[in-house]
């Protein structure tokens, strides 16, 4: 049994590494394929299949910042790292940027373990209260995002356009709606601008881990922000790591390095706690948690213990694996022509969209990329584009 669990854990880490490095191939896709083919795995203990999914998803949250930071090709959970990550990449600090997200991800592991008993004892009673408060928190966040900008009329225009784009996208029969929406708003738009500006990153430096540090104040500030907002956003539908990171970053003094730590930690905390939420309130917030729920039907306390061990082990292994892979990426980046790489990534992102979405998705991609380009050229903060996710979430909570 233990050997089967270990094999499942290692296979999960390999699968998570693959999905993390491949923008467009999401863990939910692998989880869906696995749950649809359960009949073929009748000899495998169900808990081993669950461990495979858990370790895959946790590894994915550690690795998926690599394409986002080094290539400008984001995924649903990592796109917020793209902007500060790219800024550091241009300074030759792409590796450092990634390591900061990795610090956040590894910080998330003890946070998940701390919040597990808190969730078990409080979530059944607090769930409805937090669900009621959430839309008002998001409305406050929206007003704050718009009004804190110097040119708040421009900010409002971008916010409204992005909000409506999100509403249209989530109400139309778009296949994989998040893929074209986010890769247009945050991926393609930035790549097109970097082609135009011909900005070439400096040679990427690989500094020792002990030299990549967060100041104590930064760590406390951003650690606390993720500690508060990530668990809050880990069990509600329509609210994800991007909402938690936006909430967290808007409530603390902003800086690039701290923000990278924040997005890394939030991403992993939400993924890990989504399994605890399934156990506690029987509600699945992530696609992989839904898959685990479907596989195990009723999650027992011993299942939860195994899941938590899988989270911790896969987190530690993925940490070292991610360091190794990111070093290879940084070295690779030094050897190739960045202009050529940017064009290649634009083509790959477009191809991924052509393969995984439909014609409506391609229209969303074109529109969102145009809006992203307009936002960058207008010098409006790209956080306004988050309205594409915030506005639909507000409407969902006010109407359900």
């Amino acid at each position: 049994m233990v050997i089967e669990l270990l094999i499942a854990l290692l296979l999960g880490i390999i699968a998570g590494t693959f999905t993390g490095l491949s923008p467009g191939i999401h863990i939910n896709l692998v989880a869906t394929i696995l749950t649809a083919s359960l009949a073929y795995f009748s000899n495998v203990p169900l808990i081993s299949l669950a461990v495979f999914i858990v370790s895959m998803s946790i590894t994915h949250t550690f690795i998926d910042f690599i394409p986002s930071i080094f290539l400008g090709a984001p995924e649903e959970d990592s796109f917020l790292s793209l902007l500060p990550g790219h800024q550091l990449l241009l300074e030759g600090k792409g590796y450092e940027a990634f390591i900061l997200t990795l610090y956040g991800s590894i910080f998330a592991i003890p946070v998940i373990l701390i919040f597990t008993p808190i969730f078990i004892f409080t979530l059944p009673t607090l769930y409805d209260l937090i669900k009621t408060v959430m839309p008002f928190l998001l409305i406050f966040l929206s007003l704050y995002i718009v009004l804190r900008e110097d040119n708040f009329i421009l900010s409002l225009i971008v916010f409204i356009l992005a909000g409506f784009l999100g509403l249209f996208t989530f109400n139309l029969p778009v296949k994989e709606p998040l893929l074209p929406l986010l890769s247009g708003l945050f991926g393609l738009s930035g790549l097109i601008i970097s082609l135009k500006s011909k900005s070439i990153p400096k040679k990427q430096s690989i500094v020792p881990l002990k030299k990549i540090k967060l100041e104590k104040k930064q760590f406390l500030r951003y650690g606390l922000a993720s500690f508060i907002f990530a668990p809050l956003c880990s069990f509600l539908p329509g609210i994800g790591s991007s909402h938690a990171a936006t909430l967290g970053s808007e409530f603390v003094k902003q800086d690039t390095r701290g923000f990278l730590f924040l997005v890394g930690s939030v991403n992993t905390i939400i993924m890990g706690l989504s399994y605890v939420a399934v156990y506690t309130i029987n509600k699945s917030r992530t696609g992989t948690a839904a898959a685990v729920k479907e596989i195990l039907k009723n999650i027992s306390s011993s299942d939860l213990m195994i899941i938590l061990v899988a989270i911790a082990l896969s987190g530690v292994i993925s940490f070292f694996l991610a360091i190794f892979i990111s070093k290879m990426f940084a070295k690779f980046l030094n050897k190739i022509n960045y202009y050529f790489l940017t064009i290649t990534v634009i083509i790959i992102l477009s191809l991924i969209n052509i393969i995984f979405t439909n014609w409506l998705g391609l229209l969303v991609l074109l529109t969102s990329a145009s809006l992203g380009v307009f936002t960058i050229l207008s010098n409006s903060r790209r956080i306004n584009l988050m309205a594409a996710l915030i506005l639909p979430a507000i409407i969902y909570y006010l109407t359900n």
């Binding site: 356009l161 409506f164 784009l165 249209f168 996208t169 989530f170 109400n171 139309l172 029969p173 778009v174 296949k175 135009k196 439909n358 409506l360 229209l363 969303v364 074109l366 529109t367 145009s370 809006l371 380009v373 307009f374 050229l377 207008s378």
Partner: protein, 105 residues
């Protein structure tokens, strides 16, 4: 380039809005057809209500062709045994069903 980006954004949004509000619903006659469609696809379906469940804020109807419909219409008269025509959107969250936009009987 800034102007071009804004123009493309507005054109794209107009096309998406047009599709959302003016597209014709797809006619559906069986549950199997639904599995081939995307979430949020606008569909039209007709049939006799064979089962009706009324909840505190919503109502679920099952038609004789096995299609499940859902609406926030708890105050309507009972529809069991009545032939109805519905325009709605496909929703596969948790269970495949059609969320009713318009209903006629």
């Amino acid at each position: 380039m800034k102007k071009l980006a804004l123009i493309l954004t507005l054109i794209g949004m107009m096309l998406l809005a047009t599709h959302l509000y003016l597209s014709k619903p797809m006619e559906i006659s069986s549950q199997n057809q639904l599995s081939k469609l995307q979430d949020n696809q606008k569909v039209s379906v007709s049939g006799k209500v064979i089962e009706e469940k009324i909840y505190s804020t919503s109502r679920t109807l099952i038609l004789d062709n096995n299609i499940t419909l859902s609406c926030a219409c708890k105050n309507l008269q009972t529809l069991k045994g009545i032939n109805i025509s519905v325009i709605g959107v496909l929703d596969t969250f948790q269970k495949t069903k059609i969320n009713i936009l318009k209903i006629k009987w």
